[in-house]
């Protein structure tokens, strides 16, 4: 009986030792020729690139609204340009006739100036009058004999 127990124990020890000394047999890994990139790991929470000030309590939307309001207020302060009144095309013709007469006479007098003032010129026409008369003055073709203002 003792012999039988010893014999069984030896066999059990031998089996155990054999298993312990045997090389590990890992499962073969599959060969991967190509594969899609590994998906990015999902973010646990969104990235915050701007955050509200902790001291003022303003949010980015608050700042945007304030900037828009300021720009709108500035726009309201800018006066709209006054529309130019309708000009009289014949006015310029009359003014240029005066200048032509002064060129012919060689003199620009108080009477010429006063006649010019009586013509309702607009800004563009007035500029054209100066562009026409002044070269005649500087070229010594028209002598200015006004006692007061030139125009």
């Amino acid at each position: 009986m003792k012999l039988a127990i010893a014999w069984i124990g030896s066999i059990a020890l031998a089996v155990y030792a054999g298993r312990a000394l045997a090389p590990a047999t890992a499962p073969a890994a599959p060969i991967v020729v190509s594969s899609a990139p590994a998906p990015a790991p999902a973010l646990a929470r969104p990235i915050i690139v701007a955050s509200p000030s902790s001291s003022s309590g303003l949010t980015a939307d608050d700042v945007r609204a304030a900037v828009r309001a300021e720009l709108a207020a500035r726009g309201d302060d800018t006066p709209a340009p006054a529309p130019a009144p309708a000009s009289d095309p014949s006015a310029l013709a009359r003014a240029l006739e005066l200048i032509a007469a002064a060129d012919a006479n060689g003199v620009w007098t108080d009477r010429d100036r006063d006649a010019l003032r009586a013509i309702p010129l607009d800004g563009a026409q007035h500029a054209q009058v100066m562009q026409t008369l002044f070269p005649l003055i500087n070229g010594d073709r028209v002598r200015v004999e006004t006692s007061g203002a030139l125009l």
Binding site: G123, M130, N138, A149
Partner: protein, 129 residues
């Protein structure tokens, strides 16, 4: 006694005569004109003995248009020069002219103002009435 008083008076007059009379620089620009520029000090031109000299600048505004301005000068011989501008900077310069200002203006062949100087100086004489 009388002799000493006369000596004292004479000495005082000599002393006073020796003191230099310090005064600031005074420049009087009457109208000068060339084919490219004109200049003059308003107060000095007004005080000129002749009735010919004149220098003036004027700005006129029209609704819907930029203001236009000109400068004009006439020297003692009656030679006149003028230029016009609608440049905002030059218009502002014209508007800065005061009663005793020195004014210089330069112009090109189209009589457009190409330079405009306005100067306030202690050397400018005050305008007489």
């Amino acid at each position: 006694m009388k002799k000493n008083a006369l000596r004292g008076l004479a000495l005082s007059l000599v002393t006073l005569a020796a003191i230099p009379a310090y005064a600031g620089s005074k420049v009087s620009y009457r109208v000068n004109v060339t084919t490219a520029w004109a200049e003059g000090t308003l107060s000095a031109v007004r005080a000129a003995p002749d009735s010919m000299q004149q220098i003036e600048c004027q700005v006129t505004a029209f609704p819907g248009y930029a203001p236009g301005g000109y400068c004009f000068a006439r020297d003692a011989a009656g030679t006149t020069r003028s230029c016009w501008t609608s440049d905002p900077g030059m218009i502002a310069t014209i508007e800065s002219i005061q009663g005793d200002s020195y004014v210089f203006f330069q112009f090109n062949t189209t009589s457009t103002c190409t330079a405009l100087t306005v100067r306030q100086s202690s050397a400018n004489e005050p305008k007489a009435q």
